[in-house]
Amino acid sequence: MTTSPPAASASTHPAPADPGTTPGGALLAAHDLHLAFGPTTALASASLEVHPGEVLALMGPSGSGKSTLLHCLAGILRPDSGRVTYGGRDLTAMSDVERSALRRSEFGFVFQFGQLVPELTCAENVALPLRLAGVGRRDALGTAREWLTRLEVPDVADKRPGQTSGGQGQRVAVARALVTRPRVVFADEPTGALDSLNGERVMQMFVAAARDTGAAVVLVTHEARVAAYSDREAVVRDGRVREQVRA
């Protein structure tokens, strides 16, 4: 049985204002990014567009620059040169404070290993981004529980992350990423540590929930069966993107 996503608790947490898109219809775009770690070139003229609400898979061999590109798009890393634009705004020109505010309000993240706070319960973990956005404790926890139910793991709400299975932990991480109704969710190998059955279930719920909320997803994976949940793929090779036409 599937439940509908929790209502957009608009009273306690208004959805972010429409950031607008560039003339090409892109919500988020990387333009000609270059980035080196010492002698290692990670990005060599990488360009990419993410459109509102689409699920885009970033594929490519290990070491090709997928994670680095994702971190630049998300404003976690600053490229040596090139620009990242979100709506009409230049992320690369913002101050660190502005960028982290933007990350908190507009972006969500899912990593390979949940990166949940071990001392908090799962419900508290999911509530955390709402608390940081100023939502009161009771409302935040209520919304968090709704999300855990939506992802079919209501029983882990009062457990700590260490007491859950890998698949459950990733669903908690997905709930935490979506709870603020971000415009873009960045997921780096979100099923990389799961067996294929659990990985599939996480992908299915993740993508369905993201589509329900209208979030765009940038999904880094080297697995074709995971990428098959996307709307289109872009292949990263040697720090460059070979983008496929939109379906």
Binding site: P61, A224, R225, A227, A228, Y229, S230, D231, V235, A247
Partner: protein, 173 residues
């Protein structure tokens, strides 16, 4: 069918006799099943009729004085074949292998050939994934079977893409 475009591609490096052409094909692609002469000549006759090859008659009057040369229409025929992904199905490797080698031999971008195929594979994998999430358990199992096979193909495509430089050296060498 890969024999006709493969013969055509092999002619792109220069005109050959039917016999030479068969040998070149067998050497590169005929590992387990060398071409029969009959098939070589019937294929060449069809290519001739379609204007994709032309015949050069050599002076003298021994047998097999005909040399086949690719025409401009033939060259674009090869290009179209290389750019058109194969219908994804298990065991397409031999067709893909032939395409990759011929792309390298004729100086075209083999990475493009692999990318086009990869896109086609992922397109089908998406469709199966969608079907799977809407279907019952039986649908899921059927789709998963196909998905695992397509995934294996994709791994081969990826591995080949990573080895293109080596393959180019060995093909041209």
């Amino acid at each position: 069918m890969t024999v006709a475009p493969a013969l055509l591609g092999l002619l792109q490096s220069g005109p050959r006799h039917g016999y030479d052409l068969k040998r070149a094909f067998d050497e590169r692609f005929g590992q387990d099943k060398p071409l029969a002469y009959g098939q070589v000549y019937s294929t060449l006759a069809r290519l001739l009729k379609n204007g994709l090859v032309e015949v050069e008659h050599e002076p003298g009057d021994g047998p097999d004085r005909k040399r086949y040369a690719i025409t401009e229409a033939g060259v674009s025929d090869v290009a179209v074949w290389l750019a058109t992904p194969e219908k994804p199905e298990p065991y397409l490797q031999s067709a893909m292998y032939t395409k990759v080698v011929l792309a390298l031999l004729t100086g075209r971008d083999a990475a493009d050939v692999l990318d086009a195929q990869r896109t086609e594979h992922l397109r089908l994998m998406r469709e199966l994934t969608r079907r799977k999430s809407e279907g019952d358990l039986a649908d899921q199992l059927v789709c998963d079977h196909a998905l695992f096979h397509l995934e294996a193909d994709l791994r081969w495509l990826e591995l080949t893409a990573a080895r293109l430089d080596d393959l180019a050296t060995s093909v041209r060498g």
